[in-house]
């Protein structure tokens, strides 16, 4: 018998097993499709965004698609424009004196920068969580969560139910159910941040923007919030700006790398952290420059 030559491996599929399985799942798939329409997520598409601080161009011709019900992380060195991009999505950028943005940011195909669009309604659909937890100091825990609904003049809704639901959604209910009327500032840092997330979620937006939500928190609180983000993405599209690359690795489905106001690379998180296309991405993630 002659020793075999070197051959390349072939993969074969068992066709019969496949067909049997597909029959069984077909019925299930049909049922899923009808409910999928109701649970349809909301994607954000940015096209040719240019953001200015006075005369200085901070974000240059930026285009990206944030898929619905996924977490996308924006990474990059300081000053790369990540926070600016995110603030342009809910039109908070223009609140800074002298700041303006041009281009299109489309939520479900509707451009939020179109003439005559009501900025406050945009912000009701696109919520934001900030780096430093900022519960309203004069309000109780309950009032803080209800603040979003009250400040936007929501009428005819069951406030208590919404607040309780939001607190449960962020996993804070058990910790605060006996102190709903105590000041919101009496909680720990991690709890305060979850309170702010509950406040955002109570308004029932479609997208949640997070600007380094864990930088001011200890590791345990950080992990709790990352867990929360994983649960929230079932119902919201999430964009998170982070300095911490391991966090992007843990939390994000896809990651975008920005440098000096430009989008350098955008891809599945695993690819960005195992085999990025761009040399600059490679240098940043491996820490070859700060």
């Amino acid at each position: 018998m002659i020793p075999p030559e070197t051959t390349s491996k072939e993969t074969t599929t068992d066709m019969s097993t496949e067909r049997w399985q597909s029959d069984r799942t077909e019925a299930a798939a049909e049922a899923k499709e009808s409910s999928a329409q109701d649970a349809k997520g909301h994607g954000v598409n940015i096209e040719a965004l240019n953001a200015y601080y006075g005369d200085q161009l901070a974000v240059k011709n930026f285009s990206i698609a944030f898929p619905a019900n996924e977490v996308t992380a924006l990474i990059g060195p300081s000053g790369s424009g990540k926070s600016t991009v995110v603030r342009c999505i809910n039109r908070m950028h223009e609140e800074i004196p002298g700041a303006r943005a041009e281009g299109s940011v489309a939520l479900d195909g509707m451009n939020v920068y179109e003439d005559g669009v009501d900025v406050t309604s945009v912000r009701r659909l696109i919520g934001m969580v900030f780096q430093k937890p900022n519960p309203f100091p004069t309000m109780s825990v309950f009032d803080n969560v209800a603040a979003g609904l009250r400040l936007t003049g929501a009428r005819g809704i069951n406030l208590r139910e919404r607040v309780h639901r939001a607190l449960r959604a962020v996993g804070l209910w058990d910790e605060v159910k006996n102190r709903l009327d105590k000041p919101g500032t009496g909680l720990s840092g991690g709890q305060q941040q979850r309170l702010c997330i509950a406040r955002t979620v109570a308004v029932e937006p479609e997208v949640i923007l997070m600007d380094e939500p864990c930088s001011a928190l200890d590791p345990v609180a950080t992990l709790k919030i990352e867990e929360l983000i994983d649960e929230l993405k079932d119902r919201y599209t999430i964009v998170i700006v982070t300095h911490n690359m391991q966090q992007a690795g843990r939390v994000a489905d896809s990651t975008a790398f920005m440098l000096e106001g430009e989008l350098i690379e955008h891809g599945p998180t695993t690819k960005i952290f195992t085999n990025p296309n761009d040399e600059r991405t490679e240098r940043y993630v491996t820490g070859k420059f700060g």
């Binding site: 912000r123 009701r124 603040a147 400040l151 936007t152 406040r199 955002t200 308004v203």
Partner: protein, 290 residues
């Protein structure tokens, strides 16, 4: 440099510390001396008048002989005019401060306003009185010398103080709170009303108090406007008495009983300011707990 034993404090250092502490203590005592003296004199000279019968329940009767009467009309006059002046200057002042911090910000117009407000704080109170005298009294609008015109003059005096202190307090509200409220989709006016004002409430109250205390003791504007009458009148549309006017008139009298009344009025005035301070402090503490 390796140390075998921790160095001890040198005697010279200890001496310098002691000298410094003593110097600062002396400076503090020097500053306290006039205050102590004032209180002493007020009590010494005014207590007898204040405790005399009918001091608070009778009006000055302008008699040359006999019981000169109490200061009831003066107290009531002061309270009424200050109340009206506060009702005018505090809302207007806070509104101007809100405009400067929320809308005007660093614009040229806002800076011009700030400049003029600063100028107004330096204007001598007699000028305000003169201004109202010319504009309202001589022109005989709504009567000649009236209480409400006195109130207007005082409110002009209080206004820049309210504006300046309110602006400082409003600027202390962290912008993160405004951002959080805006990001929830609240219109700007709701952010001001429901977030900024409640957060800065205690500071606004304290600032308005400063203005009230100042206004209570001003004599010059009242001389040309309310002019002072002896009889008790609740009618702001007529000439009114006030504590400063009463003191001004009484202290010039040759009669001991009347000068004693002046001291009593002074003591009353100081006591009033003290009471108002305490009330407002309680009120602001309550609002913070809410």
């Amino acid at each position: 440099m390796s140390v075998t034993a921790l160095p001890r404090v040198s005697p010279r250092r200890r001496r310098t510390d002691k000298v410094m502490r003593s110097l600062l203590l002396v400076a503090t005592l020097i500053a306290l001396v006039p205050l102590v003296f004032i209180i002493y004199y007020l009590l010494h000279k005014g207590l007898s008048a204040v405790t005399s019968s009918g001091f608070f329940s009778t009006d000055p009767n302008g008699n040359f002989f006999g019981n000169p009467g109490g200061i009831r009309s003066a107290i009531l006059g002061t309270l009424e005019m200050i109340a009206l002046a506060t009702a005018i200057s505090v809302p207007v002042g806070i509104a101007v401060a809100l405009y400067l911090t929320e809308y005007g910000k660093e614009s040229k117009f806002a800076n011009v306003i700030r400049y003029f407000v600063d100028v107004m704080t330096g204007v001598p109170s007699i000028v305000f009185g003169l201004f109202i005298y010319i504009v309202l009294v001589i022109s005989k609008i709504g009567g000649a010398f009236t209480g409400w015109k006195g109130a207007v003059a005082i409110s002009l005096l209080m206004l820049p103080i309210v504006i300046r202190s309110s602006e400082v307090v409003l600027l202390l509200v962290p912008s993160s709170l405004r951002e959080a409220a805006l990001a929830l989709g609240a219109p700007r006016w709701r952010v001001m009303l429901r977030v900024v004002l409640p957060t800065s409430l205690s500071g606004l109250v304290t600032g308005s108090l400063l203005a009230v205390a100042r206004g209570m003791g001003e004599t010059a504007p009242l001389l040309f406007t309310a002019a002072g009458a002896f009889a008790l009148t609740g009618n702001l549309g007529a000439q009114m008495n006030a504590l400063p006017i009463q003191i001004y008139n009484d202290i010039q009298s040759p009669r001991n009983a009347i000068t004693a009344r002046a001291w009593g009025a002074g003591l009353t005035l100081v006591a009033l300011v003290l009471i108002i301070n305490v009330i407002a402090r309680i009120a602001s503490r309550r609002s913070r707990m809410a």
